[in-house]
């Protein structure tokens, strides 16, 4: 019995790491996919689309398995609920990246080259915010004292992406050449992407509470 418990623990730890890898990977795939779309590289875009769907599947499977183990094996009884919530929130970030990339495929928006740089910058900041929350999560499990350092960066990147998002939206709506429907479509895309950073910040806020609860 003894050894099996330890093995199981190692298994859970590894799964948790894998799951966070998937979240982080989805951000990178989204970034590459969106850049390919902006470049008009359809082949690369399709490939990233496939990959991100795959990542999301893996993430879901890992999340389910982790949740099940947390409850059936009665692991970490005092933080079980918090970890469960954290898992779901992180998974929702992954879903949003996937959803946003698929949105590009579904709607095929026409993005004027003058906005390309802004879009890239926005995507960059959002991905940074998510990377920071992934690092915070890893720290939460291994080195709880350093969580605050990482969480601070989530907030920073979220503010930065807000700034860009406002700037781009303003530029889009000031552009007389675009039809109103085109403007609203682009605005939705910008908002959609920016929302991911907002969501990451929400997760960070929850995480800071979990940290207080677990602090020794």
């Amino acid at each position: 019995m003894g050894i099996s418990i330890l093995k199981r623990k190692v298994g859970v730890e590894k799964q948790m790491d894998d799951f966070l890898d998937q979240v982080s990977e989805s951000g990178l795939l989204f970034k590459q996919g969106a850049e390919a779309y902006l470049k008009g590289n359809n082949e690369a875009f399709e490939k990233k689309l496939e990959q991100i769907a795959d990542t999301e599947h893996k993430g879901d499977a890992l999340r389910r398995s982790l949740e099940e183990q947390l409850y059936t094996k009665t692991l970490i009884p005092e933080s079980r609920g918090d970890v469960l919530e954290l898992l779901e929130n992180m998974d929702s970030l992954l879903d949003r990246f996937k959803g946003a990339l698929w949105q590009f495929d579904i709607e095929r928006p026409e993005i004027n080259p003058e906005y390309h740089e802004d879009f890239k910058e926005l995507i960059n900041y959002v991905v940074e915010a998510v990377e920071a929350i992934v690092r915070s999560c890893r720290a939460f499990f291994k080195e709880i004292d350093t969580v605050a350092d990482h969480m601070h960066k989530v907030i920073y990147w979220e503010t930065e992406s807000d700034k860009i998002s406002t700037r781009v939206q303003r530029a889009i709506f000031r552009n007389e050449e675009l039809a109103l429907c085109h403007r609203t479509q682009l605005r939705d895309f910008v908002r959609n992407i920016d929302n991911i950073a907002d969501r990451a910040e929400d997760v960070a806020d929850r995480l800071s509470i979990y940290v207080i609860k677990r602090s020794l």
């Binding site: 005092e78 291994k142 004292d145 020794l216």
Partner: protein, 490 residues
């Protein structure tokens, strides 16, 4: 009749299991690190193993109830102790079973006119205060240390979870083992001399003595108590006082073990003295009080806001109430048993200052002039003799002790038959030889037998500064008294 008397021992075992399992597994179950069922299974198994294997070492001793000199009296004393522990269990209050037993014995002392050793009373009161404080202090230090280590080693949350769980299980298992080993003498010891069991051999490999069989039954009674009724008290310890986090639960249970080890281990004291190290003063400790102290210590470390003081107050009242309830129950039940059911609840011990007693007192260097008035008078109770003594002479407590033991009448008849009844495996060859040399002698006082034995062999002499040896020798002497006494009502 044996089965009837045994029933109160089993009741005591049951209530001990229901109450004291919380000391070892309460924090683990309360913090939800172990399921109650898992904890109960481990606890039961190790309590029984501890009782049968290590309890056997103490099988020649009668436990605390040994001072009760008639089996019907022992029945009531065990019953009264069990009753008060049971009532406290109903109130979800972790209490000390030993203190309940001491309380019940005090009830018997009052009833039978025996003297109460005020030392044991002071001990209880000191334990109430010293033990939780020490335990809380050790818990705080240990917690700080462990937190430092956890932070330094960057352990993953799940690995920490697994390690904590193992730590809790390990502490629980060791705790259960020593719970069984230390308490079985109190539960069953009194019945060993009257056990109807004979030794059985299992496949010629294991040999279960009759005492071990009795201890096994006692162990099972404790285990049944753990399974049926211990959850209530476990929850008080594990989540009633404060909501314990697993690491804090782990620290609490280990600091309770450390307190028990440091402040009650004569072995450790002897080791320190032998190696010329400063020894730790032995403070009387109770495991219930240690665990409650440790849990409160954890709460205070977190600022004390999370502590439910109402629960703590209730527990403290329970500590004070336990010996008192036990003493009252014991006294009242003894009265009924003696007067209504005509059972002999104690063997009267007479005191006479005989020539030999006078001689002994004088040789120790106490003036006997004023004792002449009392010479040859027969006192039927210890209390009566003590009163008469204090009316005639002013004595220091030590001098009084000497006179009391010197005058205590305990007629011993050393016959061949009786020597053959004693299981002599426990004695050395030289000790056995000394016993046989005394064949045919009759003694009026206990100390005469001691002196006669000591004269024949140095192995029957007490040694200076060797507590363990002396305690063992005292146990051996108490053991043989029971066989040589004129009327072996025991």
């Amino acid at each position: 009749m044996f089965a009837f008397f045994l029933s109160s021992g089993l009741f005591l075992g049951w209530s001990l299991g229901a109450n004291d399992a919380s000391n070892v597994f309460g924090t683990a179950v309360g913090s939800r690190m172990l399921r109650f069922r898992t904890a109960a299974i481990y606890c039961s198994i190790f309590v029984i193993i501890g009782a049968v294997i290590s309890g056997a070492g103490a099988s020649h001793t009668l436990g605390k109830l040994g001072s009760v000199n008639a089996v019907a009296g022992a029945f009531i004393v065990a019953f009264a102790a069990a009753m008060s522990v049971y009532l406290m269990t109903l109130a979800r209050c972790p209490v000390s079973t030993s203190q309940a037993i001491v309380g019940a014995i005090i009830g018997w002392n009052l009833f039978s006119g025996s003297l109460t050793d005020y030392n044991s009373l002071t001990k209880i009161v000191v334990t109430w205060m010293a033990c939780p404080v020490l335990s809380a202090f050790i818990a705080v230090v240990l917690y700080k240390l462990i937190v430092f280590c956890i932070k330094r080693s960057k352990i993953h949350m799940f690995k920490l979870d697994g390690m904590t769980r193992y730590g809790l299980l390990l502490a629980g298992v060791f705790g259960s083992y020593s719970l069984g080993a230390n308490n079985i003498a109190n539960v069953m010891g009194v019945f060993v001399p009257v056990s109807p069991f004979s030794d059985i051999s299992i496949f010629g490999v294991f040999n279960l003595t009759s005492a071990q069989q009795l201890f096994f039954i006692g162990g099972v009674a404790i285990a049944v108590g753990v399974f049926t009724y211990s959850k209530r008290v476990m929850m008080t310890v594990g989540e009633g006082i404060i909501d314990l986090a697993p690491v804090a639960a782990f620290v609490a249970v280990w600091s309770h073990s450390i307190v028990l080890l440091l402040f009650s281990s004569q072995g450790l004291e002897a080791f320190l003295i032998r190696h010329g190290l400063p020894s730790i003063p032995l403070v009387p400790v109770s495991s219930s009080q240690a665990i409650v102290g440790a849990v409160i210590g954890m709460g205070l470390l977190k600022g004390g806001k999370g502590i439910r003081w109402r629960v703590v107050g209730g527990i403290t009242c329970g500590w004070i109430a336990t010996p008192i309830i036990a003493a009252l129950t014991s006294f009242i039940c003894l009265f009924f048993l003696q007067n209504v059911f005509q059972q002999k609840t104690y063997r009267p011990v007479n005191y006479i200052i005989t020539i030999e007693a006078m001689e002994r007192v004088r040789s120790i260097g106490i003036s006997t002039e004023k004792l002449n008035d009392l010479f040859g008078k027969d006192f039927s109770t210890a209390a009566g003799f003590k009163k008469a003594l204090s009316e005639h002479v002013t004595l220091t407590p030590d001098e009084q002790d000497v006179i009391m033991t010197s005058a205590e009448i305990d007629e011993m008849d050393v016959t061949k038959d009786r020597i053959s009844e004693i299981s002599l495996g426990w004695f050395t060859e030289e000790q056995k030889k000394a016993l046989h040399e005394l064949e045919g002698r009759v003694f009026i006082h206990k100390w005469q037998l001691n002196e006669a034995l000591a004269e024949i062999s140095p192995q029957w002499r007490f040694r200076e500064n060797d507590k363990d040896y002396n305690k063992n020798l005292q146990n051996k002497l108490s053991h043989i008294y029971r066989f040589f006494r004129y009327e072996t009502g025991y």
